[in-house]
């Protein structure tokens, strides 16, 4: 009886020791939640969520300090993906926030006075220029955040919606003839 208990205890100790050692030795470094949330956010860096950029917003969501529906550029699709990641119910975008069509900023070169204020405001350094030199926006790097609009003293920056062309055109969702017939 006693020997059986001792044997079982010894086996338990040995196996427990192995498991404990393995859990430290083979620990999988899981992706932190912040990184996963940040990967879903559109990286517009526009601050419409009330945080200074996408990463701080991701951190706030991870801590539970911010809601998942504060990101207009991500749109309903982004909210749904965040909801799926965090295991919560999707919800419509927060009040006063609305998704706009994708756009890029354009500088009117005739009006620009070369003040560099927009360059300082651009979160992704997509504006090229120097003091008293004409500025230009690199369209392929512009996220459409609109942060360059308020600082411009001469209002020479405007947002232009990206037009559909044969490259970014998408096949439409097939129309449901079933529904139409019903």
């Amino acid at each position: 009886m006693i020997s059986a208990i001792l044997v079982m205890a010894a086996i338990g100790l040995v196996l427990g020791g192995i498991l404990g050692w393995a859990s430290i030795k083979f620990r999988v470094q899981d992706d932190p939640l912040v990184e996963k949330i940040d990967a879903i956010l559109p990286q517009t860096q526009c601050g419409q969520c009330g945080f200074p950029g996408c990463k701080p917003y991701a951190e706030a969501i991870a801590k539970g300090e911010a809601d998942i529906n504060q990101c207009p550029p991500g749109g309903a699709d982004g909210v749904n993906r965040l909801a799926e990641l965090l295991g919560v119910e999707p919800k419509p975008l927060g009040e006063g926030l609305e998704a706009k069509p994708k756009s890029v900023a354009i500088i009117d070169e005739n009006t620009c006075i070369g003040c560099t204020l927009c360059i300082q405001a651009c979160p992704v350094d997509a504006i090229i220029g120097a003091a008293k030199q004409m500025h230009v926006i690199v369209a392929s790097q512009c996220t459409g955040c609109e942060l360059c609009l308020p600082p411009c003293p001469v209002d020479c920056i405007s947002m232009q919606v990206i037009k559909e062309d044969v490259v970014n055109w998408k096949w439409r969702y097939p129309i449901h003839m079933m529904k139409r017939a019903a």
Binding site: Q43, D125, V166, W171
Partner: protein
Amino acid sequence: MNQKLYTFNGGVHPDVHKAESNATPIRTMPLSARYVVPMRQHIGEPARPVVAVGDRVLRGQMIGAAEGYVSTAVHAPTSGRVVAIEACAVPHPSGLFDLAVVIEADGEDQAIAYQPLDWRSLDPSALRNRMRDMGLAGLGGAVFPSYIKLNPGAQKIHTLILNGAECEPWITCDDRLMRERAPEMLRGIEIMRHALGCQTVLIGIEDNKPEALAAMRAAAPAEIEVVAVPTMYPGGGGKQLTYTLTGVETPTGGRSTDVGIQVFNVGTAYSLYRAVEIGEPLISRVVTLTGHVAQPGNFEVRIGTPLADLISAGGGMLPGASGEIIGGPMMGFDLMDLAAPVTKAVNCLIVKNPKFFPIKPIELPCIRCGACARACPADLQPFEMYWYSRAKDFGRAQGYNLFDCIECGCCSYVCPSHIPLVDYFRFAKSEIWEREREKRAADLARSRHEFKAFRLEREKQEKAEKFAKAAEKSKAAASSNADPTAPADPDAEKKKAILQAALERAQKAKESVAPKNTENLPPRVQKEIDEIEARRATVEATTETKE
């Protein structure tokens, strides 16, 4: 000649409708008044226009240069004047406009001097550059720049397959080309073989084209095998033909080059012959005009010819026409605008009528019969992909190898519920591509934003360091002034010495300079000088006292 053939799974037997257009020889289109030559006629980057509005161009002159690696040149189809470089209607399922050079023909059809090439003595790399400038792209429909496909690269190509299967119903342009121009085509094949350095060459032709088979067999040398493959749609798909001829399957997500096989369309071989041995760039191709027109047939059409002109050349539409299809009925798309031109990708124009192209029946619910899976030549499960694509669950649709779908349309063809399965797959594919584009843009924005934050931090630090240094220096200077007995640092000592030396030098120079014109002066001038000297003396005295 007894080649063993393999049979791929699936496939369908739609009505071929070849007889409408394959009975008459290839006709040459009369010159049009206006040509619209799009800059994007191939997969990859569009060509960059190298002419200006108002320029006179000649037939075969390059009007768009290849831009980037996956690109090829574009040429003027006839002589004339460039009247516009603007967005024009193009044959695209969206009906959107794209950049094109519009040429008004002068009717002279004057050509540049064509320069034939002695390709046997040329190294393959120079030959490929030539093909890029000749605007060659695959004429089977995918229009991939040919010069890239002729670069064996790291993968050794052991087999070259020429695709003359032409499995799509209604289309007969390759059939007629093989019947009429087999010897020239085989010279093109020789050039391909030279560029790829491969041994085996197989020409696959469906057995419903006996005349083409006979013509090619008559023209082919002994080492090139012309193989009759069973008529079965989509037997002319690149992967399907490769399997039929060699029994080698193309790996998922890969190309046939991954298994050492390269596939070209027979029409491309003919254009290659013209480009290399005649020196004529790709400015025309054979297009099938068929369906509900007066005189269906095949036409040698200049690239850029408006499709409306092609229909007039075929005697015009018959009454009761109900639209046009670009390409075949299985994989083609509805044309939005007859002003769109013939491009390198356009192999067929079908004018529809309600008899052969009835209005699509109403879509019914999927009954899970599995007919689509049995018909799929790519061994996929279309019904699974359909459910997930319809639910916009693109990740799961991709999990069922959505991107191995060749969009052949067999599943839609056999579906008893008339579900447009391929439309769902195309929709899902373009959504996934869009997401990938967005993800790349987001990654770029993230890294640029992070770099900006890093840069601002670095600049702040640098500034702080600079201030700290300046503050330290001024403090040190102040302390040395305040306490002369304090041991001065050797640096300051040295500087002081240098300063002293400079002062002494200046003093010496001052003394050594003798005043000029100071003798025998008139009393008035002497007096003036004396006054000035006196003033100077007082000033010097005051400054000294100040110090």
